[in-house]
Symmetry: C2
Subunit: 140 residues, 2 copies
Amino acid sequence: MKTPEELVARFRKQGYKVTPQRQLIFRLLNGNTAHPTAETLYEVAAQQMPGISLRTVYQTLSELSAMGEVQHIDLGSGAVRFDPNVDDHHHLVCSTCGVVHDVYVNQTPLHFEGDVEGFAVHSTRIVFSGECARCAHLSA
Amino acid sequence: MKTPEELVARFRKQGYKVTPQRQLIFRLLNGNTAHPTAETLYEVAAQQMPGISLRTVYQTLSELSAMGEVQHIDLGSGAVRFDPNVDDHHHLVCSTCGVVHDVYVNQTPLHFEGDVEGFAVHSTRIVFSGECARCAHLSA
DNA sequence: TGATTATCAACAAGTCATGCTAGCTAACAG
DNA sequence: CTGTTAGCTAGCATGACTTGTTGATAATCA
C-alpha cells in the first residue's frame, strides 16, 4: 500500500475528497500486519475519532480495494480481512488463535494435474493452516 | 466419498436413521464433480423428491462433513460448496462462469518464507483463478 | 463563497446458515 | 407388529456480515 501521503494525493487526483476519516483509515492501515476486518479497524478508528461510523470504514476500504491499494482476503472465517500488503504473497493462519501472517512462496507458478484443458490461470491463492508457536506453547 | 451403500451402512452403525431424503443426497453427491452449494443440491433434490426441505439438505451435508465424507470448500464466492472428493487436492476456479475443477499439485509440501518461527502447518489450500477454455472461447 | 461530496444516523435488505417449535411420519429394534 | 425415537416439514426467527437508502448536516476544494 502507498503511504498515507501518497494516498491523499491519489484520492485528490481521482476527485475524492480527503476527509479526516479517510486519512485516519490510511494511517491505521499503513504498515498494518494484523489483517484486520472492517469491524476491528472500526473499533480502533472509533477510539481515535469517536463518532466515525462503521459505514464509512466499509466505504473507504471498498475504495482502497477498488484502487488496488489493499488486498481483500477471505479466509472463510466469517468476515473479510484487509491486507495493505499488495505484493504477490500468501497466508499462514493459526487455526487456534486466528492470527494471520504474510508469507512468500518461491515455487510459483505451481504445476497441477487434472481434467482441465486450456485453463488460463491468472492468480493463485495459497492458505497454510496450522498452529502458531505461541499456541503450541500454550497448549503444551 | 464412500458409495451410497457404504454411507447407508455407516449411518446405521452410528445410530442415524437411513431415510429416503438422506439416501437421495448420498446418490446426488456420488461422483458429483460440480461442487454444488447446499442450495443447488436442494434444487436438484427437490425435482426428484418434491417436498424435501432445504433444512434437511443442510442438515445432511453437515453430517457428511462432520463424518469426513465430503469436503467443505469456501472459495469466498458467497456460499460454501461441497466436494465429495476428499483426496488431498486443490481447486481451479473460472472467474467468469464460476465453474470449479479439482486439481492435484505434486510440489507439496510447499516452502515459504516470512517472519514466522515455529509454525506447524497442518494443511494447505490452493485456489487457482483464471479463465476456463469455454469462457475464453466465448469471449474471443 | 459556493457547489459538490462525504459523513452520520437510522433503518432496511440481502445472503448464507442455523436454531427452534410443533405436529406428523417413518425408521429401526425388539 | 408395534412402540419408541428420530427425522421430516413448514414456518418463523436469529445471527453475522455487508451494502443500500434517505435526509440532514458538515466539510472539502475549486
